[in-house]
C-alpha cells in the first residue's frame, strides 16, 4: 500500500536532520531564569509571586489569566528577584518573572524518579484538572492550552486522536529523540489523552525518515499492551506536521475553512505534549523543562539538550561552545516557520523547540523580481490558496477580496515563499494581510454579539 500523506500542496525540503544521533542530555542550571507570563496562546498568566519570595521547582508562579490560558511554574528553586517587563525573543517588552537560582529543591508531591507509572487513573475529570494545574500546553508550536483542547465543545465527538510525531521541519530532532528515549512515557501519555477523549482510536503519525522511532513506538505499544493504538508511517513531506495536513494524511478528512479539527472528529497532540501529559498526570510534574535541538551546519556542538524553561539563550549557547563565528542568523524553531531571534539575552519558553544557526549564505534572500504567473506557489500551498493572488490583493489592500480568497486559512508554513522562482516575499505580505483580515473578522464577530 502506498504510504499516506496529505492531499494538496506541500514541498520536499532537504531534511538536514544532522543532530539525529545526539541523545538528549540535561544542561546545568543557569544562574537566573526568566519566566515570561505569555508562554501560551490566549490571555497572559497573572503573576502569583512578588520580589523576595522563595520558590521551589514546580511551584506555580503565575495563574491563568482567562479561560484560554495556563499556569506557569517555577523551573528552578530560588528567590524571585523581580516581576516586570523584560525584552523577549523578538525584542518586545513582556511581563517576566526573574528568579535567582539557589540549589535545586523540588516542590512537595512531585515524583522526580525515573520509575515508569503505567496505571492510568480512572477519573477523567481529575486527569483534566492535573493537566490544567500542570500548565500543559501544546508543544508542537502553537502552545494552545491542552486542557482546553481536550474539552471538546458540547455536541462534538472525537473519533480519532492523532499523536503528531512528524517533525516535518528540517533540522529539528528533539521530538525524534523524545520518541526514541522516552517512548514508554509518550505512549502512556497518549493513552491518558485517549482515555479522556473516550477511548477513541489513537494513531501515531510519524514520517518515514524516522524508521527507528516508528519501530520503537510499535515495540512499546506491543510491550505495554495498549489497546486501540497504531503507528502510521507517513510519506515525508512538508508541512505534514500541520494540524489540518496531518488529519488529512491520517484520516483522509479535510477540515473546513475556519473550522476546528474536532469538526471532523479529530484531536491532534504533539509527541512532547503527550510526554508533558504523562509527567503532569503520573508524576505530578508540571512543565518545568523541555528538550531543545541546537543545530545548523556551522554549529560544531550539535546537541539535543534538556533545559529548564526560562533559561537565557546566551547561557545555552555558551554551554555548548559559544556562538559560531560564521552564524549570521539564530532561528528559534525550524527553518521554515521559526522566527529569527532578535535578542539572545531572552529566555526559552515552554514552546521553544530549537535554536538553529544559519550562515549568511544560507539565509541570503535573492532579489525579488516580477511574478511570472508560473503557479508554483499555488501548487505548493497545502491549504489550497493562491499566494500570488493574495500577494497582489494584499498590496492593493482589498480586504473583502482577501477574505473571499480565504487568506485567513493561511497556516504561514512558507511553502509559497520556498517555491517561488522570482523570490517574491509572498509570506511576509500574506501574513500581514492575514492579520488585518482576522482583525476585521473578529471586530465583525464582536459587533454581532
Amino acid at each position: 500500500m502506498a504510504k499516506r500523506t496529505f492531499s494538496i500542496g506541500g514541498i520536499h525540503p532537504h531534511d538536514s536532520k544532522i543532530s539525529r544521533e545526539c541523545a538528549i542530555r540535561p544542561l546545568p542550571l543557569p544562574p537566573t531564569v526568566y519566566l515570561s507570563v505569555a508562554q501560551h496562546i490566549g490571555a497572559p498568566a497573572k503573576p502569583l509571586v512578588a520580589p523576595g519570595d522563595k520558590v521551589k521547582v514546580g511551584q506555580p508562579v503565575a495563574e491563568p489569566g482567562g479561560f484560554v490560558s495556563a499556569f506557569i511554574h517555577s523551573s528552578v528553586s530560588g528567590t524571585v528577584k523581580s516581576v516586570g517587563p523584560r525584552k523577549d525573543l523578538a525584542g518586545n517588552n513582556q511581563m517576566t518573572i526573574e528568579i535567582a537560582v539557589e540549589g535545586d529543591e523540588w516542590a512537595e508531591g512531585i515524583d522526580t524518579t525515573d520509575t515508569l507509572v503505567t496505571a492510568i487513573p480512572e477519573d477523567n475529570k481529575a486527569i483534566l484538572d492535573k493537566i490544567r494545574l500542570g500548565g500543559v500546553v501544546g508543544l508542537g508550536g502553537a502552545t494552545f492550552p491542552t486542557h482546553v483542547k481536550l474539552s471538546p465543545p458540547p455536541g462534538s465527538k472525537c473519533e480519532c486522536l492523532i499523536i503528531n510525531g512528524c517533525e516535518c521541519e528540517p533540522y529539528l530532532t528533539s521530538d525524534f529523540r523524545t520518541l526514541l528515549e522516552k517512548g514508554e512515557q509518550v505512549v502512556i501519555g497518549a493513552a491518558i489523552i485517549r482515555q479522556v477523549l473516550g477511548n477513541v482510536r489513537c494513531v501515531f503519525g510519524i514520517e518515514e525518515n524516522k524508521p527507528e522511532a516508528i519501530a520503537h513506538i510499535r515495540e512499546v505499544i506491543a510491550k505495554l499492551g495498549c489497546e486501540g493504538m497504531e503507528v502510521m508511517s507517513l510519506k515525508k513531506r512538508y508541512p505534514q506536521g500541520g494540524e489540518k495536513q496531518l488529519i488529512d494524511a491520517v484520516m483522509h478528512r479535510q477540515v473546513g475553512s475556519g473550522a476546528l479539527p474536532i469538526s471532523v472528529g479529530a484531536v491532534v497532540q504533539n509527541v512532547a505534549t503527550a510526554l508533558a501529559v504523562y509527567d503532569a498526570v503520573q508524576k505530578n510534574k508540571p512543565i518545568v523543562d523541555n528538550s531543545i535541538t541546537l543545530t545548523g551546519e556551522c554549529f560544531p556542538n550539535q546537541a539535543n539538550v534538556l533545559v529548564r524553561v526560562g533559561t537565557p539563550l546566551s547561557f545555552i549557547i555558551d554551554q555548548l561552545g559559544g556562538m559560531p563565528e560564521k552564524a549570521a542568523k539564530v532561528i528559534s524553531g525550524g527553518p521554515m516557520m521559526g522566527k529569527a531571534v532578535a535578542n539572545l539575552d531572552a529566555a526559552t519558553l515552554k514552546g521553544t523547540s530549537s535554536l538553529l544557526f544559519l550562515t549568511a549564505e544560507q539565509t541570503a534572500r535573492g532579489e525579488a523580481s516580477n511574478c511570472i504567473r508560473c503557479g508554483r506557489c499555488a501548487d505548493a500551498c497545502p491549504m489550497g490558496l493562491e499566494p500570488f493572488l493574495l500577494n497582489r490583493l494584499a498590496k492593493a489592500g482589498d480586504m473583502e477580496k482577501l477574505e473571499e480568497n480565504a487568506v485567513q486559512d493561511c497556516i504561514e508554513c512558507g511553502c509559497c515563499l520556498y517555491s517561488c522562482p522570482a523570490n517574491i516575499p509572498l509570506l511576509d505580505v500574506i501574513r500581514m494581510a492575514k492579520a488585518d483580515v482576522m482583525k476585521i473578522m473578529r471586530a465583525r464577530a464582536a459587533a454581532k454579539k
Binding site: 517587563p85 525584552k87 523578538a90 525584542g91 518586545n92 517588552n93 522566527k339 529569527a340 532578535a342 535578542n343 539565509t363 534572500r365 516575499p425 511576509d428 505580505v429 501574513r431 500581514m432 492579520a435
Partner: protein, 305 residues
C-alpha cells in the same frame, strides 16, 4: 445607394429618440430624492478623498455632515477652518474653529543616536517588520525606517531623510489628515497643533522603558528623568510610564525644558532664533536655587513660629 443611407439615418434617429424617451421616463419614475445640500457641500470640499475626516471620501463626509445634527464630530482636517466655515454656511450650523495641526514624528533614533543590533532582510514594510520583531535597534518603540508613513501620505509631505533614516514632515504640504499616524505601527507620529506662527515644542520620543535601558538603546531618547516636568512653570509637561509629554494647550513656548533636557529629546520647531542653551539653563538653575532657599527659609520660619 442614397436610399440606404437615408433609411439608416432615419431609423437610427427614431430609435435614438425612442430610447431617450424610455430613459427619461425611467429616470423620472425611479428618481432618488437626495438632499441638494450634499452636492453643495461636496463642491466646497478639498476633493482629496484622503479619509482624514474618518469617512471614505469627500462625498461620504458631505452625506454624513448633512445628516448629522451639528458639526461637532465632523471636521475636515485638510480643508481646515476655511472649508468648515463654508460647510457651516451651507448647512446653517455653527462650527468651532480648530487650531491648524501638523504631523510630528516623535522619534530621535537616527543612525548616529541608535546603535543597530540586528539587521532585517524581509519585505520592506514597517507593518510586516513590526509583526516580526521590535526593530533593528535596542529600542522597541522607535521608528522602523521602512517608510510606511511616506507611502501613506497623499500630499507628498513626508520623506525619509537618508542621513538619519527617519521620516521628515514638510509642514507646508502636511494637511494633518492623519494617514501617516494610522500607517505607523509604532504610533510615533502624532497630529499636533501647529502652534502660534508655527512655533511648537514636543518630546521627540515614545520609549516607555526605564531610563537605563533606554539610554543603552538610544542616545537622544526621553529617559523619563522628569527634569522637564520640574522645570516647567506652566504644568504643561506630564510624566507617565517613564515618558514626558508636552500638552500643547498649556505650553507657553518658553523653551526652558528644551534647555534643561539632558538628552536633547525635546524639540522646538519654527522658532526664529536658535536657543542659547547655557544661558537659559543658568537662568533656570538660579531660579530653582532661589526657590529652594525660599522654601527652606519658609520652613525655618514656620518652625520658629
Amino acid at each position: 445607394m442614397s436610399q440606404i443611407i437615408i433609411w439608416t439615418i432615419a431609423i437610427i434617429t427614431v430609435l435614438g429618440l425612442l430610447l431617450a424617451l424610455v430613459l427619461y421616463l425611467v429616470a423620472a419614475k425611479f428618481r432618488v430624492e437626495e438632499d441638494p445640500r450634499i452636492d453643495e457641500v461636496e463642491k466646497v470640499m478639498p476633493g482629496a478623498n484622503c479619509g482624514g475626516c474618518g469617512f471614505a471620501g469627500c462625498r461620504a463626509f458631505a452625506e454624513a455632515a448633512v445628516k448629522a445634527p451639528n458639526l461637532d464630530n465632523n471636521y475636515c482636517p485638510v480643508g481646515g477652518n476655511d472649508v468648515m466655515a463654508k460647510v457651516a454656511a451651507i448647512l446653517g450650523y455653527e462650527v468651532k474653529a480648530k487650531d491648524p495641526a501638523v504631523a510630528v514624528v516623535r522619534c530621535n533614533g537616527s543612525c548616529a543616536n541608535r546603535p543597530v543590533v540586528n539587521t532585517y532582510d524581509g519585505y520592506p514594510s514597517c507593518k510586516v517588520k513590526a509583526a516580526l520583531y521590535s526593530g533593528d535597534t535596542g529600542c522597541a518603540f522607535g521608528c522602523l525606517g521602512c517608510g510606511d508613513c511616506v507611502a501613506a501620505c497623499q500630499f507628498g509631505a513626508l520623506s525619509m531623510d537618508p542621513e538619519t533614516g527617519l521620516p521628515v514632515v514638510d509642514a507646508s504640504k502636511c494637511t494633518a489628515c492623519g494617514a501617516c499616524a494610522k500607517a505607523c505601527p509604532k504610533g510615533i507620529i502624532e497630529i499636533r497643533p501647529q502652534g502660534p506662527r508655527g512655533m511648537r515644542m514636543y518630546v521627540s520620543c515614545v520609549n516607555k522603558d526605564k531610563g537605563p535601558s533606554v539610554k543603552k538603546a538610544c542616545a537622544a531618547a526621553c529617559i523619563g528623568c522628569g527634569i522637564c516636568a520640574k522645570t516647567c512653570r506652566h504644568e504643561a509637561i506630564v510624566l507617565e510610564n517613564n515618558l514626558a509629554y508636552i500638552d500643547s494647550g498649556k505650553c507657553k513656548l518658553c523653551r526652558e525644558c528644551e534647555a534643561m533636557c539632558p538628552t536633547g529629546a525635546i524639540h522646538a520647531v519654527g522658532f526664529p532664533k536658535p536657543l542659547d542653551k547655557e544661558a537659559v539653563k543658568a537662568r533656570v538653575l538660579e531660579r530653582q536655587k532661589k526657590e529652594r532657599e525660599a522654601a527652606a527659609a519658609a520652613a525655618a520660619a514656620e518652625k520658629e513660629a
